[in-house]
């Protein structure tokens, strides 16, 4: 059987495939930090070269940010598009890494061998899995299995600002029968999942300015407004005591969960305590009137991803700082409108700013949620294929 020969070829080629992944992982393609722009270009170049070697007509395509990598190859239906991203998240705080995150290694752990390094799980490992599958198929058959488009982004970890404009500008070239995205999670270590809905993402950076310069708190403290105090109040008020987000209109467009899906999720026997226990926690911290899986998968959220202001070094400095900053993100579901929520959030914050302070916002991405039509037979085919290869049946 031809598939068995391909699977066997994949096993044979595993050491070389691992080396190729490591080579890609050694490139620190951190998209959010402009200092790493050349590294993003380097990662894109490496992928273009690899795709060309597999017979793809491949090229790096410019955007206002980091380039897209596009490859076309193969013939015959269906036309499949594979999306992945070659950029990675920043690696700080560096002192929590045991080693250089861009010097990946295969480690033997209690759960088996793992590849440790930035991008192994998000998303260089996944995108190379698809490329290696294509490589193995080609080695066995001499051709590609069908018409394939490879579409690799370099800005996924920084809000994908170029993605939608690029898709719109190239809608005919990138149109396909099916798009495969491998950038989500397993349900459990031994149980794969096909993600059929994705929360959207709205990012906001807030800067509150009080005094025109940093002050000595001994000289001005008690009289001058401290912007950290204002920012803390803004953040504290983003959730009420029941864990609900307080931005006016935030829950507009959040759908009720279909009873069948709630029942299916209930059958998964998700252990919130166990899930949280792996990261040192125990208690679901979201909306208290929702089940843990709803909090995690179905409900919109608001998180503070970063906060800073004043003196943050060792020791003490009695500064009354001029500015305080926070990065805040919202995960969106259903028909929540990211632009309306952005406006409502900004209005809510502005209303909390005292006369002596000013606030400035900068947006980082505004993507609505998406939900797929799981009636399409491709979902069941994908589930069967995944279930064949894993100890447990794949979940939707």
């Amino acid at each position: 059987m031809t598939l068995e020969a391909v699977l066997s070829q994949i096993d044979t080629d595993l050491p070389e495939a691992t080396d190729r992944l490591m080579k890609l992982m050694r490139i620190p393609s951190i998209s959010t930090d402009p200092a790493y722009k050349p590294e993003c270009e380097k990662a894109a170049d490496l992928l273009v070269e690899d795709l060309q070697g597999l017979g793809f007509e491949a090229a790096k395509r410019p955007t206002p940010g980091h380039p897209m990598v596009i490859g076309h190859g193969g013939e015959g239906g269906p036309h499949l598009l594979f999306y992945g991203h070659y950029d990675v998240q920043p690696v700080d705080p560096l002192d929590l890494w045991d080693r250089d995150p861009f010097d990946p290694q295969v480690e033997t752990t209690a759960q088996g061998k793992v590849i440790r390094g930035r991008g192994a799980a998000d998303d260089k490992g996944q995108l190379m899995t698809f490329i290696e599958a294509i490589r193995a198929w080609k080695a066995v058959h001499g051709t590609l299995p069908c018409r394939l488009t490879i579409f690799l982004e370099g800005e996924e970890e920084s809000g994908s600002p170029s993605l939608v404009p690029f898709l719109e500008d190239n809608r005919h070239e990138l149109g396909a029968d099916l798009a495969l995205i491998c950038d989500t999670g397993l349900f459990a270590r031994d149980k794969p999942a096909i993600t059929t809905m994705l929360r959207g993402l709205l990012g906001e950076e807030v800067t509150i300015t009080g005094p025109s310069k940093d002050l000595h708190s001994g000289q001005f403290g008690g009289l001058a407004m401290n912007p950290i105090r204002v920012l803390a109040r803004v953040i504290a008020d983003l959730h009420d005591t029941s864990g609900r987000v307080t931005v006016p209109g935030f829950y507009d467009g959040v759908p009720d969960m279909p009873v069948e899906l709630l029942e299916q999720w209930s059958a998964l026997n998700f252990g919130a305590g166990e899930f949280l226990g792996e990261v040192g926690l125990s208690t679901p911290a979201g909306e208290q009137d929702r089940t843990p899986l709803e909090q995690l998968w179905a409900r919109p959220t608001c998180e503070v991803n970063g906060i800073w202001g004043g003196y943050t070094g060792k020791g003490f400095k009695t500064v009354l700082p001029a500015q305080a900053h926070a990065k805040i993100s919202f995960r969106l579901v259903g028909d929540q409108d990211p632009h309306k929520i952005r406006d409502s959030f900004r209005d809510m914050v502005r209303a909390q700013i005292p006369a002596d302070c000013t606030v400035a916002f900068s947006g980082h991405g505004a993507a609505p949620a998406s939900q797929m039509a799981i009636g399409d037979p491709a979902f069941e085919k994908a589930r069967r294929a995944l279930s064949d290869e894993w100890p447990n049946e794949a979940a939707y």
Copy 2:
């Protein structure tokens, strides 16, 4: 008259005196950051050498932190002790400096010539003023004016952890009739002040830990407790809506202001709007039922001097951080007990920490307020001397 000759000598020697101050200011003696320990030693060495050149028996004296500089010289009463500190505050954020803060320059401004650089106003400028006064006296008279002890600390900007133990261990050596401290402010640019009460200082660093490691907010958001959210609530709740500090028992020991002093302050015609206007503010932000000068001079305060957690670099990272941190300081007055307030603050914070989070504290200094007996004739002598040299009479 001998004093006139000394004053004239000071004027003559001004260029060289300025050079000596600049030399001291070029040493980045940032006491709070261990990386600058050698620079603190260097500043102490320079001062010891200068004092020895003036005939003082001077030495660097070790402490568990940065060394003290002690110099003894002169004969006859009264025995005066001069205290100053050779350490300086950190200089970040560096991008708000027009130049290297440790490359001081004399600048001509609309208000006259100023020396711009770290430590010019706190406290290298002041301590060198005393040393230059001694140098001029010695140049004219060949001897020192009376028995003098110079006592220079290197940890004032980091909570003075060694000061009290050192004073206790050397109480006989450092006993004096009068101690002069020149490390406070003018009332106005053209009106000097003799500070007769000083607020105490209690510093606390708070670290709240949620998850055992940084999480991806897309994967855990909604379910995992975010320590920034907890910290924001803690900070927001430190003041009530009227600007009062909410730490239980915080105002125990805060004295009522004597009516006479309130009247004297009222006569100063302090313009809060003008004072705040110089730093881009307009509205007193302290206790709303107190006058601006009370908020500034007489009332205890709570300030957040620094806050940090999560991703604080450029761009965005959808992290749900393991930890959030803040540096919080309290200015204390009257008989407020820093140790009781520390305990009460920590209890209050602990009570706000959800089951899934932990909190750790580290203390940075705990000094009570001090108030001097202004009936001593030395105060009036000092006021007359200052008033002679300035356009306006000195204020208490």
